[in-house]
């Protein structure tokens, strides 16, 4: 996983609530697909509409997405994150996220940032003053989003997720260090709940 420290770039406003992962990528493109090459299908059922915000040339390849409430809700498909990565997105800023999508982002080195809706609208307004030129900085180390005019807006992030992103850690390797604890839990549980184990014994 690529480490995430600080990111500066164009922020594309997509301020609609409840963007479901089906909108980001239809399932048909994920059947037998690899993680790469999905960007070409991003939002394909919406992007040709004249009002589609991301259709503007100024926002092509923007690494930051400014989103509405409940972004990434619906299907658990991790392909939604791979698709956003495929169009260059490394950070999504939204008032709230679908729970499964939120976790999937961290698994892929994409930072989901929760900010109040009015703060996101403020950033979007500054961005729209000079589309394609205005730059937003997301500083994970300091936990701030810096608007094009220089306002630093703090955000919260779990310490565990923060360090995993900054260091590009592999969670499986981390958990495997706890193999003894896991084995001990399982041994205790087999005593406490033998039915949970014996019923599926091959």
């Amino acid at each position: 996983m690529d480490p995430f420290t600080t990111l500066t770039g164009v922020a594309a406003p997509l301020l609609r609530a409840n963007i479901v992962t089906d909108m980001i990528i239809p399932i048909q493109h994920l059947v037998g697909a690899t993680r790469q090459g999905l960007g070409q299908h991003a939002f394909e059922r919406f992007r040709d509409h004249p009002d589609w915000p991301l259709a503007r040339a100024a926002y092509k390849g923007a690494p930051i997405l400014l989103a509405g409430e409940n972004f990434g809700c619906g299907s658990s498909r991790e392909g939604a994150v791979w698709t956003l990565q495929g169009i260059g997105v490394r950070c999504v800023i939204a008032p709230s996220f679908g729970d499964i999508f939120f976790n999937n982002c961290f698994q892929n080195g994409v930072l989901p940032v929760r900010l109040p809706e009015d703060a996101i609208r403020r950033i979007a307004a500054e961005v729209e003053e000079s589309p394609g030129n205005a730059r937003v900085t997301v500083d994970l180390e300091r936990q701030v989003v810096v608007t094009p005019r220089g306002e630093a807006i703090p955000f919260a992030v779990d310490a565990r997720k923060k360090s995993a992103l900054i260091e590009g850690l592999d969670e499986i390797a981390l958990t495997k260090k706890r193999a003894e604890e896991i084995a001990a839990w399982q041994a205790r549980d087999k005593q406490a709940r033998p039915w949970a184990w014996e019923s599926v014994a091959p």
């Binding site: 089906d22 059947v31 658990s76 999937n104 958990t175 896991i182 709940r193 039915w195 019923s199």
Partner: protein, 458 residues
């Protein structure tokens, strides 16, 4: 004072990771042919063994054709992922229920049906509708392919404990109103983000009165209001339903399990982070009008005037006019199936409407896709398939089929479909397809009349 969430979650904490994060033991894993095949491959590519293949169960459901006589090759796009799932299951010792075998089916149908999913177990699957399995009192939730790989490699998952919500339905459901209507009404009230960050416990006399399959339906749409997990406290109804199933505990283990399961409930006076209540007696059959499950109405209502640009776009996509009654809207397709509503009781609910001589309305294509091989065989033994076929429905092979349209099957562009599935998103059932979510009986009524119809007047 503990909630049911505490009683399901806390005993599974292998390690407290701080800030509300836990390393959670996962007791059961279900794999399907998309995320499951991928995770099973990736765990090997990363150099890890499958930690506990005895706790992992696989079945292909998403990318399989539902055509009568199908094989895994019938939908060419699914051939490779299914072959991969078979090969990796064999290499790792994961039990696979293949096409045509009892046990094959939609993951969230076969899991409870085989007794793989039990009260008090933790269960994950790379599928957001894993919440379905909370209907038997399991802590079940959907995850992405990377988290699934983590589970396969370690039998654990790093998760943050959600907040606890209780949604109480007191009273008696009116005739013609089902679990599907209960949960759609809740989503209409709380919205598609109403449950985000929560685990939802469904409670109250109307929930206790539901059979297990109806509880699975209720929990299935938890994710449609944003909740990754939803569950019902297990009771005698669940215990009787599970007894004797293939992987349910037997003998002394069954007795021990029953003792454990009887404690799986929230304490009287336990504090919830959010509480909501719905009067069951006031719920009418529900039907969605838009492109989000929260855009839902009683079938007696009129199509609403758009309140937002999103509503306007939804009405345009659906080809509906505000101010007209939703009932009477002509339909082209009907789909009875999916992990929401494809169990034997769902098929019986739909078949009740098929009086002798009843026929699918001219111009309507109506599909019944049983949720599993066992459901299919049970329905055929009862003669339900004959009644559907005689009425002009197609009787097809088990799988996700038109719920997600990942198998080459699709509702044509512009066609209007009453569907017993869980998502009415733009393009979900096929590019340009217009989906109205409803119960199996409402779907059968639409098939017979060729229009959205109040099943109570049928």
């Amino acid at each position: 004072m503990a909630t049911l969430l505490d009683r399901l979650w806390d005993p599974h904490v292998v390690a407290d990771l701080g800030e509300g994060w836990s390393l959670l033991h996962i007791d059961r894993v279900l794999l399907h042919d998309l995320s499951g095949a991928r995770a099973l491959t990736e765990v090997g590519e990363k150099g890890h063994a499958v930690a506990r293949p005895d706790l992992v169960f696989a079945t292909p459901d998403h990318a399989v054709s539902s055509a009568p006589g199908r094989t895994s090759e019938t939908f060419a796009g699914g051939a490779r992922p299914i072959a991969g799932l078979r090969q990796r299951a064999k290499e790792t010792g994961v039990r696979l229920f293949d096409l045509g075998q009892p046990g094959h089916g939609i993951v969230h149908v076969m899991g409870p049906e085989l007794g793989i999913v039990l009260p008090g177990v933790t269960l994950v699957c790379g599928d957001s509708h894993t919440c379905t399995n909370g209907g038997v009192g399991a802590l079940a939730f959907g995850i992405g392919a990377s988290e699934l790989t983590h589970v396969l490699a370690t039998q654990t998952l790093m998760q943050r404990k959600p907040r606890a919500m209780r949604l109480t339905y007191e009273g008696v459901l009116p005739k013609g109103v089902t679990a599907k209507d209960m949960i759609l009404a809740a989503i209409g009230k709380l919205g598609t983000a109403g449950g985000t960050g929560y685990a939802v416990e469904y409670a109250g006399s109307a929930v206790r009165a539901l059979g297990v399959e109806a509880r699975l339906t209720l929990c299935n749409l938890s994710i449609e209001m944003g909740a990754k997990m939803g569950f019902v406290a297990p009771d005698e109804t669940v215990f009787q339903w599970l007894a004797g199933r293939r992987f349910a505990p037997k003998g002394a283990h069954w007795d021990a399990a029953l003792r454990d399961w009887q404690g799986l409930r929230s304490d009287v006076g336990a504090r919830f982070d959010a509480e909501h209540a719905i009067d069951a007696a006031t719920i009418a059959p529900q039907i969605t009008w838009g492109t989000s499950p929260e855009q839902v109405l009683p079938v007696t209502a009129t199509i609403p005037a758009p309140a937002t640009p999103g509503d306007r776009a939804a009405l345009d996509y659906m080809g509906l006019e505000p101010g007209r009654p939703i009932a009477g809207t002509k339909v082209d397709w009907v789909f009875i199936g999916s992990c929401t509503n494809s169990r034997i009781s769902d098929l019986r609910d739909a078949a009740v409407l098929l009086r002798p001589g009843a026929k699918v309305a001219p111009g309507v294509t109506a599909w019944v896709v049983p949720g599993s091989e066992i459901v299919k065989r049970e329905a055929e033994a009862e003669g339900l398939h004959r009644r559907f076929l005689d009425a002009g429905f197609e009787w097809r092979e088990p799988g996700c089929a038109l719920c997600v349209a990942a198998n080459g099957e699709a509702v044509p562009p512009g066609a209007r479909c009453v569907s017993t599935s869980n998502r009415n998103f733009v393009g979900r059932q096929g590019t340009g397809a217009r989906t109205h979510l409803a119960s199996p009986a409402m779907a059968a009524a639409a098939a017979l009349t060729g229009a959205i119809t109040d099943v109570r007047a049928f």
